[in-house]
């Protein structure tokens, strides 16, 4: 019997949930859940009983994090704000941009990345969070500035074995890494070209859009920059370009295959000044050799007239075998592949702008 796969779709106006019980050939889509909240981040934590975690921000009533332990049938949130800046920081949470379950052997640990740029840590499975002071008090912080979407930590990658090690990424600011459990942080942007700054290769200030890694290759990361696609083989100490073979080096998401650490996916756009898929063709790009070469994946995707884009958290894979690949567009369409990207089908359409997707077997 095929495993049940859950796809959580966060949009500008609420959450939709797609469920497949038939080998990902058909999908039942429900929603909107949490209507009118913008859902910048979702996570499906399968370390124990599946828990959906959702960063929901109401334009009127502010941000929150909700959890569901019954696959979206009901939602819980604490009385007090689950993510809030301590009084001495004189800061207020704008929204949560990322929810990242911690390593497998710390099943109660969950991380949240926020706007303004900060990292929070939960030790109760993602219900309540505390500020990680080391990053907040970094001397660079006053020089981080907001990109078009705001000043936020959007990527959190905990080392799979060493609880002292982690990287985060923010726009702008770039990549920072800790090797002492979050007490101190080093900028880790060597080799990333920042054409928009006077110094082309600054220590920090890069506009990193997304970073992805794989637990089986903990020293390797893939990175989509505000122009430029990069790989690190030394734990984010240095980066080199892997953009050759792509039709454009601009874009937002980058994601790694769950079982094959050399397989990586992106959704290239033409340029900062032309944020469209090249030629209006909807194509995901996949590399099977860690970025040395790229192939366009377009079977089942719109061949023309696709002038939408895919946001940084709106492309993901599930953990099935073969892996499913999913992406949602700003035009409210969601496409799914059950064969690792070789062919695609639209499983939802006419939704609000898709901001985030996450999928898992449940």
């Amino acid at each position: 019997m095929a495993a049940t796969v859950l796809l959580a779709i966060g949009t500008r106006k609420g959450l939709w949930l797609a469920t497949s019980r038939h080998g990902r050939t058909t999908w039942e889509v429900t929603g909107p859940h949490l209507p009118m909240a913008d859902i910048y981040a979702v996570a499906i934590d399968t370390r124990r009983r599946p828990r959906i975690l959702v960063a929901a921000t109401s334009e009127h009533f502010g941000p929150s994090v909700l959890t569901s332990d019954d696959l979206g049938a009901s939602w819980q949130e604490p009385e007090h704000a689950p993510v809030a800046f301590p009084a001495d920081t004189d800061a207020a949470l704008t929204r949560v941009w990322q929810i990242a379950p911690g390593p497998a052997d710390e099943p109660d640990v969950v991380y949240a990345g926020t706007e303004p740029s900060a990292l929070f840590r939960s030790q109760d499975g993602g219900r309540t969070y505390e500020l990680v002071r080391g990053l907040w008090e970094h001397p660079h912080r006053k020089e981080w500035f907001p990109g078009g979407g705001g000043q936020a930590v959007h990527t959190i990658l905990a080392h799979p074995q060493d609880p002292q090690r982690m990287i985060v990424a923010m726009s702008t600011g770039g990549v920072y890494r800790t090797e002492d459990g979050g007490t101190s942080w080093q900028a880790s942007n060597r080799g990333i070209h920042a054409y928009f700054l006077p110094e082309e290769y600054p220590e920090f200030g890069q506009c990193v859009h997304k970073v992805a890694g794989h637990p089986a290759a903990p020293e390797r990361f893939f990175l989509q920059h505000h122009h430029g696609v990069y790989r690190s083989d030394d734990g984010a100490s240095s980066w080199h370009s892997i953009a050759d073979g792509l039709p454009g080096d601009f874009g937002f998401p980058i994601a790694v295959h769950p079982h094959r650490p050399d397989v990586v996916y992106g959704f290239p756009l033409v340029a900062d000044a032309r944020r469209f898929p090249p030629d209006g063709r909807c194509r995901v790009y996949r590399s099977e050799d860690a970025g040395e070469s790229w192939s366009a994946l377009s079977d089942g995707l719109p061949r023309e007239g696709f002038w939408s884009a895919v946001m940084r958290d709106a492309l993901c894979l599930d953990d099935a075998d073969p892996a499913g690949v999913y992406f949602g567009s700003r035009s409210g369409e969601v496409y799914a592949s059950a064969d690792e990207g070789d062919s695609w089908r639209r499983i939802a359409g006419h939704l609000p702008d898709v901001l985030s997707v996450r999928a898992a077997t449940v």
Partner: protein
């Protein structure tokens, strides 16, 4: 003295379903003081009205005897015994 908060439908779930919340505060209390008291009683409601710096949320309006508090002294606006604070989400979004 007693102040009454009148809540819109969408916020009542954060106040045990009640359309109004009675708050006891000392003489000369401000709107901010009322919200401090609300924080102690209904934190899930209060955090929808103010952020953690106690700043009033931009798209929530507080009418004090018919005038939005920002036309008065904002959160420092003083209230009289028996005053009603009408909470109304402002027109926003798309």
């Amino acid at each position: 003295m007693r102040i009454t908060l009148l809540l819109p439908q969408m916020l009542r779930a954060s106040a045990d379903g009640a359309p109004r919340v009675e708050i006891e505060v000392s003489e000369g209390a401000t709107l901010g003081g009322v919200l401090d008291e609300l924080h102690a009683r209904h934190p899930a409601l209060e955090r929808r009205l103010r952020d953690e710096r106690r700043a009033l949320r931009r798209y929530v309006n507080f009418y004090l005897d018919g005038r939005e508090c920002r036309e008065l002294d904002g959160a420092a606006s003083r209230l009289a015994d028996g005053a009603e604070v009408l909470v109304i989400p402002s027109v926003a979004g798309g």
